[in-house]
């Protein structure tokens, strides 16, 4: 993979982020994802994880706060910020009646990727994710895992510096999950950054350099796994998570 790190600004910086739907969903969130880092955002159901990701990607407008993506203000220069990132929601954003290459053509067109970059990149991604043999099939016949992998290929076609993933491993079998994990590690190794949410704590434990735990829209703990363990007197990430998110 190409080296993606180009400047000193963090990959993502959220400051005082607020979003409410009657009640606060994200409540004064401050969070930073460093370059070349895989950051796992954990939290119980309804903690505000998906809302946070949707705010970062511009799918929701914040009530207050700032969002910086690789030094670009998402709120004032959304197109420039979006050029640098990619979003993969828990439900893959696919078209049932398109074939994988056609889907990648479309996504590459949306990001304005040049043909000489997009074509080899698409081949590389489909090969990597074992989708080449299904390249002539409509995605409506794909399994959940195949759809998720294709959506990931779409997210990576423009070589984003920041990947934003909402539950990327949900519904994947062991082989597909391994492929996706390898791809994410490779992206980070090349200098890219990832922020992901997951309910599979083992994924966060094994992949993430830092972990943030969110509850009721607020970041209640953040750090490496060891730092979190120290804070809660040891145990597995599951123990740490349960201690930190227990209702007071």
């Amino acid at each position: 993979m190409d080296d993606l790190s180009t400047s000193a600004a963090p990959a993502l910086r959220l400051h005082g982020l607020h979003k409410g739907f009657g009640r606060p969903a994200v409540d004064g969130l401050d969070l930073t994802v460093r370059r070349g880092e895989l950051y796992a955002l954990l939290g119980p159901n309804g903690a505000g994880k998906t809302t946070t990701l949707r705010l970062i990607t511009g799918l929701l407008a914040p009530d207050a706060g700032t969002i910086d993506v690789l030094g670009v203000d998402m709120l004032t220069a959304p197109a420039a910020a979006k050029m640098k990132m990619a979003y993969l929601p828990d439900e893959p954003l696919l078209y049932a009646k398109l074939k994988p290459y056609e889907y990648l053509e479309f996504v590459a067109g949306l990001w304005g990727v040049r043909a000489e970059v997009a074509a080899p990149r698409a081949r590389e991604l489909l090969d990597w994710l074992d989708l080449s043999q299904h390249a002539h099939e409509l995605t409506e016949g794909f399994s959940r895992g195949m759809k998720q992998k294709l959506a990931l290929a779409g997210a990576l076609i423009h070589q984003p510096e920041l990947l934003i993933l909402d539950e990327p491993l949900t519904g994947l079998d062991a082989a597909a999950a391994r492929q996706v994990k390898d791809l994410l590690l490779s992206h980070v190794a090349a200098g890219g950054s990832v922020i992901l949410t997951t309910h599979i704590l083992e994924v966060a434990e094994r992949l993430a350099q830092r972990i943030g735990i969110i509850r009721a829209g607020q970041l209640i703990a953040e750090g490496t796994l060891d730092q979190l363990r120290q804070r809660t007197q040891g145990g597995s990430l599951e123990d740490v998570f349960l201690q930190l998110t227990a209702t007071p």
């Binding site: 197109a79 979006k82 949306l110 990727v113 043909a115 016949g141």
Partner: protein, 525 residues
Amino acid sequence: MTSRFAPGPGSAGWLLRHELRLAWYNASSSKSKGGVRRPGFGTIATIALVWLALHVVGWFAMGNLGTMASSDPRVLLVVSAMLIASATFMLSSAIKSSVLTLFERGDLDLLLSSPLPSRSIFTVRLAGVATSTAGIHLFFLAPFAHAALLHGQARWMGVYPALIGIAVLCACGAMLMTLGLVRLIGARRTRVLAQVIGALAGALLVIASQSYSLFADRWQGRGQEILRGMLEHGGMLSADSALWLPARALMGDGGPVLALAALALVAFAITARQTHRFFTVGLQLSASTGATAPAKNASAPRPRFGRSLFHTVVLKEWRLIVRDPHLISQVLLQLLYLVPLCFVVFRDNGVRMPAIGAGLTLLASSLTASLAWIALSAEDAPDLLLVSPASARALRRAKLAAAVMPVLLLVGLPLLWLVARSPLAGLVLCFTASSAVLGAGMIVFWCGRPGVRGNFKARGKGGFLMNMLELLNSLGWGALAWLLADATLARPSGMSALGASAAFVVVMLTLASAWLIGRSRDRAV
């Protein structure tokens, strides 16, 4: 508390009750506050009022018609025609229900994985298809039978066994047809084919009725002579012909009623007994709807990256539409209903240019509105577009172009023919048709609300205002086409000038309203 007479859990009766309860919940298109779909008090009251009103109409109608003799072949002809119409709709409805039962499998996985015998499941599903098929027809026709009963003509109660019998036969035929097609051509194609057949059945009936009324005058002399001969004693359609048995059953003749009921029972029993395995196999095949299809062409696909955003979006929209035969059939159904218009236009060996122009304008406007809704409102992955750096306006413009271009191409050839035939009138019609197309597209562009592609048929329910604007746009440009073409071909009159001015004002006001609505929505966002 369980009723003493309630069917035991797991029995066919218990399953039937479950089916009926689900059907009742699904009988309303609106959602209650609690999120459960079921008809509300208003819906039930409206249905009851309509049913009572039908009884009143039936009272007056059956006062004279109730005494008609079932031995008169002319009466039998009319009743048979009505039955054929009902049976066509029943078959169409039964095919749709069968496909729904087989493919929209909300609970079938659960049922088939339970210890319930698959024969019970199939019997109940078949009964459900037959009930839903018969229900709507009984709703409209039974009040007439009740009214006849009050007039002392009890034999019309034959409507019940006759319609139920025909519905059962249609349900059996439809279910077997659906299952057979699954085996022959696979589940995915069957789904499309069955839906197309269902859609076309209704349309063909409309066309047949229109064709008859249009050609009746030409056929009157010769046709009546042939028919009279057939209806006479000993003719193919005499009173004792077996072809009249369903009609005689409807009119309450004991023998035919029993024969039809027996036939329906036998068909139901055979279908239920012999095909439950077939049903299960069909379901297994239908489950493969989501599986990958075998590769037809092993050659590597040729991706073409690097197109402009406009081309990328247009191509994507066209691919999605072209590869969705069900959607295409629904869109093209509008064309089918306009076929009778062609009969009007070309009748008497004369071509009415203003009528053709108005028809083309209406057609183009209506088609554009449908395609624009599909492309602009029914986007499958709106979040993908929102997270991309592409400008929303550029994307929407490209989608609008994707909707408008095929329609302009479609009406372009007949318009060119009109220009060749009468240049001035043809050019006027080119202007009105193109304007109608652009107007229809812009209305959706400005006022369209997000929708789901699969809900194309129900798109009208979503936005009354947009539908009204689309209708005014179509009618306004259609009227303008007619009046302007007429004015160029004949001497323009004061009335036609006034009419054309009024039509122009209507379309301009319509477009201005659509623009204002869109602008206010943009500001609200």
